[in-house]
C-alpha cells in the first residue's frame, strides 16, 4: 500500500491547519457563510438536511487496518457510531459538528487520510476495481497508475476550478468492475504488441444527462498517460461551459462538439505536452509499484475450500460461498466481499464495532488490506481459502455474513431524502423493502443489480441498474420511476424508463411483475435478467407493469 512521502504529509497537514483556522474565523464571525461555504466544501464538508456531512477520501478504495480502526474511532467519538460507505469508494459521516471537524481531519492525517478533493469542481478521487491486485482476470494492477494520477491531480493548480467536478476511474482487468464508461475519463488496460497501455474513454457520466463515454484513444503508453490526461483536462477547462451548471460536465462538451473534434484538439494539446515534464519515467513507475507489490502469498496454500461439508449443513454459508468469493490470481487464495447490505439494514452503513472487527479480519487474514467497492461493500482482497470458514463465522458474529453479492438485495442506494438536501424522495426505505420482499427467493433470480437514487443527480447509479429506481416528487408525495436494462460494465448501457412513476409502497410489487416476466420468459436458469431483457426488449416488461 502507498505510504505518504514528506510532500504528501506536509500538504495534508497544512490543509488541516488552514481549515482549522478557517473554522475558527467562521465561528468568530470573521468569515461569512458565503465566504466559508466554498472553503468547507473543498474539505469535504457539506451541510445536509439534519447536520453537516463529512466525506472522507479513500483513494482508489484501499485501506489498511489502522485506517479502518481510525474510521471506527471517528464514528464513535465524533459521530453517532456509524459511517456510510459510498459508490465513490468513500466514507461519509452524517452527524459531525463544525467545531469537531478540524480534530477529525487531524486524526485522519495521523493515518494518512484526508477529505481533500471529495467535493468541488476539481479532479475528484480516482476510483478503481475493488479487486485490483487480486483479480484473476487482471492485465495489470491499476493501483500504481491510480496513485500516480492521485499525485498529479491533488491540488493541481490549473485544475482546481474546472467548469464542473471531474471523475476518473481506472481498471486493469478485462471485466470492468469500476464503471469506467460512466466517468468523465475512464481508463482500461489494453495490450498491444506485447506492451500494456491504456484505452482512454471520455465524456461518460450519469446525472441529469446520462452518457456512455466514447473512446478517444485505444492505446496510450504509461509514460504518456499524464500528459494525455492533462491534454484532455486542458481542452475541457478551456471549452467546458461555465454558464450553465447542467451543461458544464465534459460529457456535454463531447456530445455537443463531437468526439472527432475533441480528439483533434486533445491530440494538438498532447503534441505540446508529450515528452515534457509529465513524462512518467519507468523508474518512477517502478518505485510507486513497489508499494503495491504482491503480498507474500504462501506458495503451497491449499487450493480447495474445506467448504462442502459445512455448506451442506448450512444453506446461508453455501450462499455466501457461491456469491461472496471472487477468483484470485494466486492459487489457494480468494477475495471475499463483505456485504454491507444485510437485509433490512441501510445499504453501505457500518457501525464502529463492525468497522473495528473488519479491520481485525484484514490484519489477521488479508495482509492488512481492505477495499471499499463502488457497490458499497467492503472487500478482503487476499484471503487463504482455508481461512474462509473462520472469516465467515466472525462475520456472522457482527451481522455481516449476508451471502448476497450481486443479488437483488445487494442494492446501491444513495442517502436520498432521509439525509440529502437535494433529494426529491427517499432511497433507503425503498432498498430495505425490496431486500425484505425478495431475500428468500433471490438466489433464483441470479445476478441482478438494483440501484436507487433519490433525485436525478444519480448518485445511486440508477441509470445503470439492471433495474433502476429514481425518486421524484410530485405534488408533495414521493414517486418512483423505474428503468430497466442499464449496465455499468464494459457493455455499458443506460436503462430505459418504462413509464409513469409508482408510489413507494408499490415499488416491490412493480419489481415482482418485472421479475415474473423474467422468470417466465428466460431461456433457462443460466440466462441472467439483463441478457433476457436484451433479448426480449422492453415491451413485455412494460406490458407487465402498465398493462
Amino acid at each position: 500500500m502507498y505510504r505518504y512521502d514528506e510532500f504528501d504529509a506536509a500538504f495534508v497537514r497544512e490543509r488541516t491547519e488552514q481549515f482549522s483556522d478557517q473554522v475558527k474565523r467562521r465561528v468568530a464571525g470573521e468569515l461569512t457563510e458565503d465566504q466559508f461555504r466554498p472553503l468547507r466544501l473543498m474539505n469535504g464538508l457539506y451541510l445536509q438536511l439534519h447536520a453537516y456531512m463529512l466525506r472522507v477520501a479513500v483513494p482508489y478504495g484501499t485501506l489498511n487496518s489502522r485506517q479502518m480502526h481510525k474510521l471506527a474511532h471517528i464514528a464513535r467519538t465524533y459521530d453517532r457510531g456509524y459511517g456510510h460507505f459510498t459508490t465513490r469508494q468513500n466514507i461519509q459521516y452524517n452527524w459531525p459538528k463544525l467545531q469537531d471537524v478540524p480534530k477529525i481531519l487531524e486524526e485522519l492525517a495521523e493515518v494518512e487520510m484526508h477529505a481533500i478533493q471529495t467535493s468541488g469542481n476539481c479532479i475528484r478521487n480516482v476510483t478503481t476495481d475493488q479487486f485490483a491486485g487480486a483479480a484473476h482476470d487482471e492485465i495489470i494492477d491499476p493501483r500504481p497508475v491510480a496513485e500516480i494520477i492521485r499525485q498529479w491531480s491533488s491540488l493541481h493548480p490549473e485544475f482546481s476550478f474546472l467548469p464542473r467536478k471531474f471523475k476518473i476511474a481506472i481498471t486493469g482487468a478485462q471485466q470492468d468492475r469500476a464503471a469506467v464508461k460512466f466517468h468523465d475519463i475512464g481508463l482500461m488496460a489494453n495490450e498491444k504488441d506485447g506492451q500494456v497501455g491504456w484505452r482512454v474513454f471520455v465524456g461518460g457520466g450519469l446525472g441529469r444527462t446520462p452518457m456512455v463515454a466514447k473512446e478517444i484513444n485505444d492505446f496510450v503508453p504509461h509514460e504518456d498517460l499524464l500528459a494525455y490526461l492533462e491534454a484532455i483536462l486542458r481542452v475541457y477547462n478551456l471549452h467546458g461551459r461555465r454558464d450553465n451548471k447542467y451543461k458544464a460536465r465534459i460529457k456535454i462538451l463531447v456530445h455537443e462538439t463531437g468526439i472527432e473534434q475533441i480528439r483533434e484538439e486533445v491530440e494538438a494539446e498532447f503534441a505540446q505536452l508529450k515528452d515534457g515534464v509529465l513524462t512518467l519515467p519507468q523508474d518512477e513507475l517502478d518505485r510507486i509499484s513497489t508499494y503495491f507489490a504482491a503480498p507474500p502469498f504462501a506458495a503451497d496454500a491449499d487450493d480447495v475450500l474445506d467448504a462442502e461439508q459445512h455448506a451442506l449443513e448450512n444453506a446461508q454459508y453455501a450462499k455466501f460461498l457461491k456469491r461472496n468469493l471472487f477468483k484470485h490470481r494466486q492459487p489457494g487464495y480468494t477475495s471475499i466481499t463483505i456485504s454491507l447490505k444485510s437485509v433490512g439494514e441501510v445499504p453501505g452503513d457500518a457501525s464502529d464495532a463492525q468497522m473495528d472487527a473488519i479491520a481485525e479480519l484484514a490484519r489477521e487474514f488479508s495482509f492488512d488490506e481492505l477495499r471499499v467497492s463502488h457497490e458499497q461493500n467492503l472487500v478482503l482482497p487476499h484471503v487463504k481459502k482455508s481461512d474462509v470458514r473462520a472469516i465467515y463465522e466472525r462475520l456472522v458474529e457482527i451481522g455481516l455474513a449476508e451471502g448476497n453479492a450481486g443479488l437483488i438485495s445487494d442494492i446501491i442506494a444513495c442517502p436520498g431524502l432521509d439525509y440529502c438536501a437535494l433529494a426529491n424522495a427517499r432511497s433507503i426505505p425503498i432498498a430495505q423493502d425490496i431486500a425484505k420482499r425478495f431475500a428468500d427467493r433471490e438466489n433464483e433470480f441470479g445476478e441482478l443489480k438494483v440501484k436507487i437514487s433519490g433525485c436525478i443527480n444519480a448518485c445511486g447509479h440508477h441509470h445503470v441498474g439492471h433495474i433502476g429506481i429514481l425518486g421524484v416528487e410530485k405534488k408533495g408525495t414521493e414517486l418512483y420511476q423505474i428503468t430497466v436494462g442499464g449496465d455499468a460494465t464494459e457493455q455499458a448501457a443506460v436503462g430505459n424508463i418504462l413509464g409513469r412513476g409508482v408510489t413507494g409502497d408499490e415499488v416491490p410489487d412493480a419489481l415482482e411483475k418485472l421479475l415474473n416476466v423474467y422468470m417466465d420468459q428466460r431461456e433457462n436458469a443460466d440466462e441472467p435478467f439483463l441478457d433476457a431483457f436484451r433479448r426480449l426488449g422492453e415491451a413485455p416488461f412494460k406490458e407487465a407493469l402498465y398493462g
Partner: protein, 101 residues
Amino acid sequence: MKVITGNELLSGAVVYFYGKDRWGMDLQQAQIFEDKAPEVDELLAAAAKKDKVVSLEAIPVEKHDNQLVQTNRLREQIRANGPTVGTYGRQHLSEADYVSL
C-alpha cells in the same frame, strides 16, 4: 402560514425561529406568520446578516385543531423528525435545545 427555519451554524441542527432572536428545535414553538407577512423577508435578511443560522428558508405550515403545527412537505417532516430509517433522531444543538442569537 409560514415559519422560518434553517440550520444552526455549529451543530448543523434544524432550528425554527421562535421570535425575538430566539431559535430552537421545536416546530410547535415557532413563530407563525401569515403567508404574505412583510416582516418575513426582513427577518430572513436580518438572520442572514447575523449569519449564525444558515440555509435559511420560510416554509409553509398548517395548523391542526388550533394546536399542532405541521409542515406539508415530506422533506420538512424529515427535517423536523430526523431520518425515517435508523434510530438516530435529530441533531441536537450544542447546549440547550434553543439558542439566543
